[in-house]
C-alpha cells in the first residue's frame, strides 16, 4: 500500500496506464483488471472498482477508475464499427482519448477484449497478449461450471492475465 501511495505522488509520466477488460455480448463486462505498475488493481465483475481505487490513494485515483470505465464503454462503439471491416480478431486501435489508445480484440462469439494503453506499448506485443488471453479464456469457457457471459472469477485466469501483461510493460 505504501509503495502505491508513493507512485501516486510521483509525476504523471511514471504512472503506467494499462487497463484490460473483457466485455461479453450485451456490453456486460465480465472481467476487468488494472495491469502493469498497479498490481493491486480491481478484478472481476462490475461494481468493486470504486473500493479498489479508494484503497490506493483517495479520490484522484477513483476518478481515474471511473474515467477508464467511461473510455472503454465509449470504445465499444469503435469496436462495433471495426468488427465488420476485417476477418481477423485483432482490431488494432479502435479509439483514442487524449494521449491514450484503446486496442481491441473481438471473438466470433462477440466477446470483446479491450486494452487501454498509451502509445509506448508495442503493437506486436498487444496482439500476442490478446491471443494468449483468448486462449486462456477458451479454457475458462471449457469449465462446465462457468456460465457463458457471467463474471470470470477464476483466480487462475486472473493470475495468467497478470503474468502475460508483464510482457507489455
Amino acid at each position: 500500500m505504501a509503495s502505491l501511495r508513493r507512485r501516486a505522488g510521483e509525476g504523471k509520466s511514471q504512472q503506467r496506464m494499462l487497463y484490460f477488460c473483457i466485455v461479453a455480448k450485451g456490453d456486460v463486462p465480465i472481467f476487468e483488471v488494472q495491469l502493469g505498475g498497479h498490481a493491486g488493481g480491481s478484478a472481476g465483475g462490475s461494481g468493486g472498482k470504486g473500493a479498489a481505487g479508494a484503497g490506493s490513494g483517495g479520490g484522484g485515483l477513483q476518478q481515474k477508475e471511473d474515467l477508464v470505465q467511461f473510455i472503454l464503454h465509449a470504445a465499444l462503439d469503435g469496436v462495433e464499427h471495426k468488427v465488420w471491416t476485417t476477418t481477423s480478431m485483432y482490431l488494432k486501435t479502435v479509439d483514442k482519448f487524449n494521449d491514450l489508445l484503446v486496442s481491441a480484440f473481438a471473438t466470433a462469439g462477440h466477446v470483446k477484449m479491450l486494452l487501454l494503453h498509451d502509445h509506448r506499448v508495442d503493437e506486436g506485443h498487444i496482439k500476442a497478449f490478446f491471443h494468449d488471453v483468448h486462449e486462456h479464456y477458451l479454457k475458462v469457457l471449457m469449465n462446465p461450471f462457468y456460465e457463458k457471459n457471467s463474471a470470470i472469477t477464476s483466480p487462475v485466469f486472473e493470475e495468467r492475465v497478470h503474468s502475460l501483461a508483464r510482457r507489455l510493460t
Binding site: K139, M142, N143, P144, F145, Y146, S154, V156
Partner: protein
C-alpha cells in the same frame, strides 16, 4: 507391502502396461474434449436438478457409474486379452494398468496395500474427466469424478468381488493427487438356488 504382494514383480507390471497400451490401440477412440464436455454437462445438469445437493449428486454419479461398470467388464474381458486374475490382488494392477488405460486412456498406480490384502488405493495422476474444470466453492462437497467409483464397483461385482470404492482425495479439491480407495467386502459365490 504384504508378503503375497512381492509376487507382483516390476516385470509383471510392465507386461500389464504393454497389454494396456495394446488394448488402448484396439478400441475406438472419441475426441477427448467432447468426452470431457459431455461429462461436465452431465455433472452440472445433475447439480441443477438436485439444487446443488452435492451428496445427492455424488450418489447419482455412483449409480450411473455402477450401471456402466456392469456392462464395461464384458467389453473389457472380450477386448483386452489381459491374463485371468487369480485373486483379488491381481485385479488391482489389471484395473490400474489395463482397465483404466483402455477406457480412460490413462494408467493409474496401485498403492497403499493393507496388511490383510483387502484394501488398496488407485492413484490417478491425470484424469481426463476433469480437464479444464475448476470446482466452485459452493460445490466443494462434490466428488466430481465419482462415476469412476461406481464403475469399479459394478465391474468387480460382475467378477464376484463385492467391493466398496470411494474417493479419498481429488486434485479438483486442491489435494495434491487423486486417490480412490478400494476395499474388498466379500467374495460372492454363484447363487445356484435359482437354477431349477
Amino acid at each position: 507391502q504384504p508378503e503375497f504382494f512381492s509376487v507382483r514383480t516390476m516385470a509383471q507390471t510392465k507386461t500389464l502396461i504393454r497389454q494396456g497400451d495394446r488394448a488402448f490401440e484396439k478400441v475406438d477412440k472419441i475426441n477427448a474434449e467432447l468426452f470431457t464436455m459431455s461429462y461436465g454437462a452431465l455433472v452440472t445438469q445433475l447439480l441443477k436438478d438436485s439444487n446443488g445437493d452435492c451428496d445427492a449428486v455424488n450418489q447419482q454419479l455412483d449409480s450411473i457409474g455402477y450401471k456402466i461398470g456392469v456392462r464395461l467388464i464384458d467389453e473389457f474381458i472380450a477386448k483386452s486379452s489381459a491374463p485371468a486374475c487369480r485373486n483379488f490382488t491381481d485385479t488391482a494392477e489389471v484395473i490400474a494398468k489395463v482397465g483404466f488405460r483402455m477406457f480412460l486412456g490413462v494408467t493409474a498406480t496401485v498403492q497403499g496395500w493393507q496388511e490383510d490384502g483387502r484394501q488398496y488405493s488407485l492413484i490417478l495422476d491425470e484424469n481426463p474427466l476433469n480437464q479444464f474444470v475448476e470446482l466452485p466453492e459452493k460445490y466443494k462437497g462434490l466428488w466430481y469424478s465419482n462415476v469412476l467409483v461406481g464403475v469399479v464397483k459394478g465391474a468387480l461385482e460382475q467378477v464376484m468381488f463385492k467391493v466398496d470404492c470411494k474417493f479419498e482425495r481429488d486434485a479438483l479439491r486442491g489435494d495434491d493427487s487423486t486417490e480412490l480407495k478400494v476395499t474388498l467386502q466379500e467374495v460372492l459365490r454363484e447363487n445356484m438356488e435359482n437354477f431349477d
